[in-house]
């Protein structure tokens, strides 16, 4: 029952995603207006298949594989630094499509951490320090790509895992202190980050530059109002230069279906979060508990971060909106997370019956 609810929510979100990926891309690519939607549909199909397979796989199997998968995906992330092209070395290009290894690395990392923490009975300060260090080490190649959004997300995942594994809040606060000078350093070394930060504080200081996307996003919400201007009627999508089909797709949705549409989407994500965390809380097996909780957080946190960026409550990060944004690797990774959730839920239900 619970699994159906989650699958239902995810399918609706994917359908909305497909519709809007088409809606915002067909106005741009005329040689083949369906190219984005085709690629996204293929990713959805692959993701659904993987989700199904994983949901039928006992979590124990995934647990044993996690260290192996982590090493492989980490190698791929490093490979982007060598093989990747352009300014941002995030993709490995293959004929016809490209892979963003960090997306797979993220989900495998949560599985790995769930495995490790399930074996650690007590988490003292040294454990916290060592895992934060491990997190920094593993995410360093991502930082080099550079992909700060995912770098930050990986660190958030590590801290979240420490949190639910039972680390004292004091410890977690203690490691937060050095983050501030680190952030300052990051901003000083890369001036465009400074701009982003300033723009975040007041986007109107540079409406054509860094603040541009954020302002256009806010204008989209405003022109959408309660019920939106109608699907296919929006014009804001024309103003987003490159990122409307991934990072800022929610803004286009807000314009076309309005606040009511937004509420529906948030409700669907809430269903996933609700079912995922509640199931996790009831699981007896500690690994299963941590794995399901981290998979749930994996989806919800990305959603929240993306949504908050679109309303200018967080600085622009470049994180996709799960199941809705265009992006093959992230879509497949999200379905893997749902697969892990479903596997845990079915284990729980089997025990009850």
């Amino acid at each position: 029952m619970k699994s159906y609810l989650v699958v239902f929510a995810v399918l609706i979100l994917s359908a909305i995603g497909l519709l809007f990926v088409f809606n915002v891309t067909y106005v741009r690519n005329f040689a083949n207006p369906y190219i984005f939607v085709q690629k996204q549909a293929i990713a959805l199909a692959l993701g659904l298949a993987l989700m199904f397979v994983i949901s039928r796989t006992p979590l124990g199997v995934l647990r044993r594989l996690s260290i192996f998968l982590l090493v492989i995906s980490f190698c791929f992330v490093i490979a982007t630094l060598i093989l990747g092209s352009g300014d941002a070395k995030r993709w490995i290009r293959l004929p016809g499509f490209s892979i963003q290894p960090v997306e797979f690395f993220k989900i495998v990392l949560t599985l790995f951490l769930a495995n490790v923490f399930s074996k650690i009975e007590k988490i003292d300060f040294s454990t916290v320090i060592s895992f934060v260090t491990l997190g920094l080490f593993l995410s360093f190649p991502v930082y080099l790509q550079p992909d700060y959004g995912n770098f930050a997300f990986i660190m958030i995942m590590v801290i979240f895992m420490l949190f639910i594994a039972g680390a004292k809040l004091r410890y977690l606060l203690a490691i937060a202190f050095p983050i501030i000078p680190l952030l300052a350093l990051a901003v000083i070394t890369a001036p465009y980050r400074m701009r982003r930060l300033l723009v975040f504080i007041d986007p109107w200081t540079d409406p054509q530059g860094s603040g541009f996307q954020v302002i256009q996003s806010l204008l989209s919400y405003a022109s959408g109002g309660l019920t939106g201007v109608g699907i296919g009627e929006g014009i804001q999508r024309l103003f987003f230069l490159p990122a409307v089909h991934n990072d800022f797709i929610i803004s286009s949705i807000a314009e076309e279906v309005g606040f009511l549409g937004i509420v529906v989407i948030v409700l669907l994500y809430s269903i996933v979060a609700f079912v995922g965390f509640l199931s996790a809380s009831r699981l007896k097996d500690r690994f299963a508990k941590l794995a399901v909780a981290s998979a749930t957080f994996f989806i919800s946190a990305q959603a929240i971060l993306n949504l908050l960026v679109s309303v200018a409550l967080l600085p622009t990060k470049g994180l996709p909106l799960p199941f809705i944004s265009y992006g093959g690797s992230s879509t497949i990774a999200n379905f893997i997370a749902i697969g892990i959730m479903l596997s845990g839920i079915s284990a729980e239900e089997n025990k009850l019956s």
Partner: protein, 642 residues
């Protein structure tokens, strides 16, 4: 040391709590759920506030949405039946400027005025545009290549944020006013406003893209150009024969001038398929510049004009009476010597006749006897035939704004109405309705839906629509049709339509002359018409020619028949082709009567048979064998009517 102690403490505490509440992770997971839901909550509150309560953002969004422009893909082409282009898009250049950046700069303003001068734009219009508080305004849309070249030099003095050029497509109709009422025309935004352009607008039009005209804080324009051109629309192939159309247009125009007529219109269709071959409405307009012509000239009279047809209508009344066995071809009617008082009216004939058979009634066009046949048929029966023939309803041709004419229900007819319907009054028809109904007599009784688009082809050369003849009703038997055709042949041989005769092919038809009804009175202003078909033995074309208020003469036989004969003769002779296959029998596309076929085949038989097999045989012209030319690989047989 101290760390070790501490951790011991914690671990003992945590194992204690573990006994009570189980895994501490459970609690933390529920806290996480709360935090995540709180995150969604914060987002919803913020999104709701921005969406609904932020007036300032709403204003800004509105202002921004005004600065988008639409760029359209190339519109599909329109072809005639032989693949000749009758409408296509040609490149044009549209010039825009940003008044915000130009207004304050004297030198730049001067340059703008210079451009305006070259492009012959009113000084005041330009200065008004310069005063506008917008960032984008057209200087002039759709400049020709020459105009563009003449101002290019000045444009280059501006930065690309001040004045710019956007390439657009402009519709071009190479035949000008000749096929204007079929193609219709488009507005400056390439939207179809009439004719095929309107009816097939959704197929013809290219993909549209909106361009965002952005501006920065200084009002500089940042144009968001598309990666490539938007894809074009679908091409349309029509059934129109542009050569016939040209011929018809010229001849109609000449005769209109000769006869000092107010207007003229004609429709040609293939009676076997319902294909519209040509349609002319005069006075015409040039679809390249539609606004320069009076609105009246845009009416496509061959399917949008409703009139009382007069005598051509007798064909349908007599055919209906024959079909329902009310009359027989040998019956004789008394025609009252040209004047018959029926109830409140007096019916007159041009030619005074005593007794007449249906054949003579048609050939000599007796109003008196036609109304007698109408009265014999009775209201209900005649109404039903006329209804089935398509009168009072649209033919369904694929052109916009078709008129359905006027056919009131028989329950509202008086006897007098029934009588005058017999010779084409008290009924409103369009030329296309007449031609469609007439075709049913020519093609052995079938009502076909007339159509003008034969296929639609996508930019990838896929055929997305292929028309085929659409039979709607079978009304007359072959027998009735043969009789009617022979009556109409008689019209041309010895009746009112002698001038419609076409040698070699032979023709048949019916003349029509009707008075116009003005302010409730029939006045001495006429509509003169002729409808006919040819070749007589193998009809390929039905042509209905109508002149509106001719002054020099007014009988249809005098005014319209000669145009019919001339156009159809030229059309058929240009299409006369014989092909000879290896078995040495020949196939014809168009040919004359049986006797002439025999003559030609006899001639071919007389030629050395081995030569015919070796060489390509081409037959040119029509009529009788004039001379034969033999080259190394071809035999050319030249025919001539005399």
């Amino acid at each position: 040391m101290s760390r070790g102690r501490k951790s011991k403490e914690y671990s003992s505490r945590s194992s204690q709590s573990k006994k009570k509440v189980g895994d501490p992770a459970t609690k933390r997971i529920l806290v996480s759920l709360f935090l995540v839901l709180a995150g969604f909550g914060i987002y919803i509150v913020r999104a709701g506030y921005i969406s609904m309560f932020s007036e300032e953002l709403k204003e800004k969004a509105k202002a921004q949405s005004k600065t988008t422009i639409v760029i359209k893909g190339k519109r599909g082409k329109i072809y005639d039946r032989n693949g000749k282009l009758i409408a296509k898009d040609i490149p044009s250049y549209s010039l825009w400027m940003n008044p915000q950046t130009l207004r304050t700069d004297e030198a730049k303003r001067k340059n703008i005025y210079e451009i305006a001068k070259i492009l012959k734009i009113d000084q005041k219009e330009i200065s008004d545009k310069l005063q506008k508080k917008v960032h984008f305004v057209w200087i002039k849309r759709q400049l020709t290549e020459d105009e563009f070249r003449s101002v290019k030099r000045i444009i280059e003095r501006f930065s690309r944020n001040e004045v710019g050029v956007i390439k657009e497509w402009k519709r071009f109709y190479p035949y000008g006013d000749v096929v204007a009422h079929i193609t219709g025309f488009v507005n400056i935004d390439s939207e179809g406003l009439a004719g095929l352009e309107l009816y097939y607008d959704r197929k013809l039009k290219g993909k549209e893209i909106k361009l965002a005209v952005l501006r920065d804080a200084l009002g500089r324009i940042i144009m968001n150009f598309p990666p490539d051109e938007p894809p074009p629309g679908y091409d349309i192939y029509t059934t129109v024969d542009i050569d016939l159309q040209l011929l018809l247009f010229e001849e109609l125009k000449n005769q209109m001038q000769n006869m000092k007529a107010k207007g003229a219109f004609a429709i040609a269709i293939d009676p076997n398929t319902g294909e519209v071959l040509a349609g002319v409405s005069l006075p015409s307009f040039d679809p390249n510049y539609p606004s320069k012509y009076p609105e009246k000239s845009r009416q496509a009279k061959f399917y949008q004009y409703v009139f009382e047809p007069g005598s051509v209508f007798k064909i349908f009344v007599v055919a209906s009476a024959l079909e329902s066995d009310i009359i027989s071809p040998t019956d004789s009617f008394f025609c009252h010597e040209g004047k018959w008082d029926f109830k409140s009216i007096t019916i007159r004939d041009v030619k005074k006749i005593g007794y007449a058979t249906p054949r003579e009634i048609v050939a000599l066009s007796s109003n008196i006897c036609a109304s007698q046949i109408s009265l014999l048929l009775g209201k209900e029966r005649l109404y039903n035939y006329l209804k089935r023939l398509g009168f009072g309803s649209k033919t369904g041709v694929d052109l916009p704004g078709e008129e359905s004419g006027l056919l009131s229900h028989f329950s509202r007819w008086y006897d007098v109405d029934l009588a005058v319907i017999g010779f084409g009054y008290f009924i409103g028809v369009t030329p296309l309705q007449i031609a469609t109904a007439f075709s049913s007599i020519v093609n052995d009784g079938y009502i076909l839906r007339p159509y003008i688009v034969s296929k639609i082809v996508s930019p990838h050369r896929e055929i997305i629509y292929q028309a085929k003849p659409e039979f709607r009703d079978k009304i007359f038997s072959k027998q009735t049709c043969e009789l009617m055709k022979s009556f109409m042949r008689e019209t041309v041989i010895s009746g009112t339509g002698k001038r419609a005769e076409i040698p070699f092919f032979l023709s048949a038809g019916k003349t029509g002359t009707s008075r116009k009804l003005k302010n409730g009175k029939y006045v001495k202003e006429y509509i003169s018409s002729f409808i006919g078909f040819s070749p007589y033995e193998d009809p390929k074309i039905v042509l209905f020619v109508v002149f509106d208020e001719p002054e020099e003469a007014y009988y249809g036989g005098e005014v319209a028949s000669p145009v019919f004969a001339s156009v159809v003769e030229k059309y058929l002779s240009s299409h006369l082709q014989f092909s000879i296959n290896s078995e040495n029998s020949y196939d014809k596309s168009y040919s004359g009567t049986s006797s002439q076929k025999v003559l030609l085949s006899k001639f071919l038989d007389s030629l050395p048979q081995d030569k015919l097999k070796e060489k390509k045989v081409t037959i040119k012209g029509y009529g009788f064998v004039n001379h034969v030319e033999e080259t190394e690989d071809e035999i050319v047989i030249q025919l001539s009517p005399n």
